[in-house]
Symmetry: C2
């Protein structure tokens, strides 16, 4: 499985200079554009040459963005009353297998069998997710109704699945993970938590990261095996495929019964808890950020997670050193002015020995929202040039009013980013009331297709199988959780022709 | 190896109420005191009943303290110019074994051999540390002198070693890790970094966490195998044993030659880099915090990492509900006043339905620096009672001057904590100029013993072996890095009687 590409033959070799730039357009070849943008010549997000297929190294720029996403989630999750835990990375075989009939993770699990040269008495699984690690302990910790609601989370961890194919931030054999695991006394409270989870996704993914999504109740045939129901937020990627950015499982009392998660209720009786778990997809949010906001010049980063808000680039001329010094001094002054006046704004002066053109290119690739250019003509005055990463238009920035002007620029950038993403997402949802129309839309456009559907219970699964076969992979994402749409009178299921009970969203999926 | 203690037999069982309190004195039985303090009835830091020996669950209180330690380090490390990375948790076998002769990790490594039911083509190691993961990639990334110094770090991760015996925060099969990996053009710059690493430890461990330590250059026989030299900070635990809280390795060009970490220098020639790596011990700092600051009533937490600075406890009487309401209202007012007036102070109102005595006990166990008590008599006035966790003396707190008064209380607490730790540490260092004296001190007291020593090069190793055998485990920690002490004229090595070249510090070790 492991693949080893680096040239470590133990002697010093000639090395090539690093080259920058993406050679394809996003609209021409999204897949290649995405690959190049993730790599060293792009925004330098990951290195896939680590030597084990599906395991990547996260470079500093990516790590800082991902850490930013974690921080946004931690804030919301803790404010919602969750306490942090850290569990071992390994799960005893018998705990994992106890839940086998529900969860069925075993085929994808990596197994640890040896410590040094000695075979372990019982093999250990690298965690594929947290349920079978958490819940046996919940069985010990939770005693009475006073302990409920019991809300815990685990952040900044990775999980492991032996996937057949991998892609940076979309599917990895080791990938960044986030999980909450909650226990309630009643199913009603559990359902309220699912609503809260959706609101947290709305705050983090949509309002802050500007990733539009729809929160669905999945059809019964596409739920997490151990759950009664699964709820998920899906966005659409530029290749028209659905990207699941979070899931919340309504676990009912299924796991509670297996792992003995009980509490003594006010009436003195011992009862099983109702459980939910929420998994915002750190990787999937990152993939959506890259793919939805990025353009032919590189990444475009929302201000909440960009490692740098403003880069200052001196326009210098190697033949005129006295001008260079003047320009560099002005750049330093402007940097200090911004740091002093604009709280929370992260600013970088790029004084590397490279041409201004190289630097424009580089920081556009990296997705920094704003660029300030300072040349000899601007070294004396109170005005410098500012460029918005989205519009790429040059404007004047008055240094005398810097706090207000920069806030306006940042706000304009955020509004632009959201508007652009909203329009993109709206354009990726179409209606169809027949299989022929569904097939046509999927062929030429993909994205979400709203269709009338017979049933999202088990009896609708057959239609889903037909749909998938007829459309080369189209799947039913589910019914909208908030204000589910009702079919018009007399609308029929696009597959079986029976009366439609729901409007569901169909899309190809990763 | 795995041990499974929980009662998951799939049906609801009677559960006991959780009980609080430590039943032994720290001075009578440090080991038992430490175990109880870490457990559920103590400060509820870890749960060792996870089912796999040596793998523990970190509970919320411990996790928040540990996260605080990580944050302190991240701040210093990033300010020193390190950029964050995240590497895979697994290391390809051939990369690990390439360095076998230097590092020799293989005997303690956990091996992943299967994905699902399929045997992997080549087995993967769970990382025991980062060198053999990082440096093959450094070989690809570092190209020219412009890339140097190259400073990267990895935070908030765990590593895995199949240790024979384990203890919470002292030795685990999976434990929290922190690592920097730096490359320099010259050895001089590498040595400067080692000095900086020491200063970072001084800032974080001593100035902030109030853990006194000595920074040593280890004797050659006790260095990391792959390094030219190892530098380490050691503190002393209450059982007199040395606790290594960090190490920095001067790797010279050893790893660079194995993993091809080269750069094109200004003169156009390809050269090997000089490497250092710094590993502050997250677990070890936590163990020191618990053991050095804690007392018979529980933890005592430095303000920089305590999850709560002040707990407010209402003194209520179940028989007088109208007084209870009045007291609770006052408590809420005081909480809001503190939140509004004192930026950065984390305050909690404990309004759980338990007695004040239970709550005093609980929050003393948890180590919260300050406690405010509000009873019926204080519900009307401008004065409440405040209690310092160390002195446990009651004082009056004037609410009209709350910001200033609370800052004074917190400052007093910090000064007290440092003074206490300094005195403790000073009392744990003695002098000896003969083996007999060393043996006597180790037997009755342990701690550091300063002794004249022949050599810390390879030729001193025999004496170290004799010392260890004669003292039932005493080891040479090394020579002080800053201002190394010189033996007096005519002082002889306590073992071989040859002329002493150094004053070294001897202690038993974990």
């Amino acid at each position: 499985m492991a693949k080893h590409n680096n040239n470590n033959n133990g002697k010093a070799q000639e090395k090539d200079e690093k080259k920058l730039g993406i050679t394809v357009k996003k609209s021409d070849n999204f897949s290649e554009w995405y690959t190049q943008l993730c790599a060293e010549q792009g925004a330098d997000l990951v290195d896939t040459r680590y030597g084990v297929a599906g395991f990547v190294v996260h470079k500093p720029w990516a790590f800082k963005i991902l850490r930013g996403i974690y921080d946004l989630l931690d804030k919301e999750i803790e404010e919602d009353g969750h306490e942090p835990l850290l569990f071992p990375t390994v799960i005893p075989e018998e705990n994992l297998l106890k839940e086998e009939e529900h969860a069925g993770f075993a085929p994808d699990v990596f197994w640890i069998t040896h410590g040094g040269n000695t075979k372990l008495e019982r093999k250990l699984a690298l965690r594929p997710t947290g349920e079978t690690a958490f819940y046996p302990m919940y069985g010990l910790w939770i005693r009475s109704h006073n302990d409920l609601p019991f809300k815990r989370f685990q952040s900044r961890i990775t999980v492991f699945r032996n996937e057949a194919t991998t892609r940076p931030f979309l599917r990895g054999r080791e990938f960044m993970f986030y999980e909450t695991h909650d226990v309630f006394a009643t199913h009603k409270e559990a359902m309220k938590q699912i609503d809260t989870d959706m609101k947290i996704m709305n705050e983090v993914a949509y309002e802050t990261l500007k990733i539009p999504f729809i929160f669905f109740k999945r059809p019964k045939w596409d739920k997490f095996l151990g759950a009664d129901d699964t709820y998920a937020s899906d966005t659409i990627m530029p290749d028209g495929k659905r990207n699941q950015c979070s899931s919340t499982h309504d676990l009912g009392q299924n796991f509670a019964k297996v792992y003995d998660v009980t509490f003594k209720d006010k009436d003195g009786k011992l009862k099983y808890g109702y459980q939910t778990c929420f998994g915002p997809g750190i990787y999937r949010l990152m993939a959506a950020l890259i793919a939805i906001h990025g353009d032919d010049n590189g990444l475009i980063l929302p201000t909440a997670v960009t490692p740098i808000h403003i880069v200052i680039i001196p326009i210098t001329f190697s033949k005129k050193p006295e001008l260079t010094e003047k320009v560099l001094n002005k750049c330093k002054q402007v940097k200090e002015l911004i740091e002093k006046s604009c709280f929370g704004i992260k600013v970088k002066l790029d004084d590397e020995d490279k041409s201004p053109g190289y630097k424009y290119n580089k920081w556009e690739l990296m997705g920094v929202p704003l660029r300030i250019e300072i040349g000899p003509r601007e070294a004396d005055g109170d005005e410098v040039t500012i460029v918005n990463r989205i519009s790429r238009e040059k404007e004047k920035l008055n240094l005398k009013n810097i706090e207000k002007e920069l806030n306006t620029h940042i706000n304009d950038f955020e509004v632009m980013l959201k508007k652009r993403a909203d329009e993109y997402f709206k354009g990726n949802t179409k209606d169809a009331d027949s299989l022929e129309k569904v097939k046509k839309i999927i062929e030429e456009h993909r994205g979400f297709i709203k269709v009338p559907w017979c049933s999202t219970e088990k009896d609708g699964e057959k239609c889903a199988e037909t749909l998938k076969a007829e459309t080369m992979g189209g799947v039913v994402s589910g019914i909208k959780f908030e204000s589910p749409e009702k079919p018009k009178k007399d609308q029929k299921c696009v597959i079986c022709g029976k009366e439609a009970k729901h409007i569901v969203y169909v899309a190809k999926s990763y």
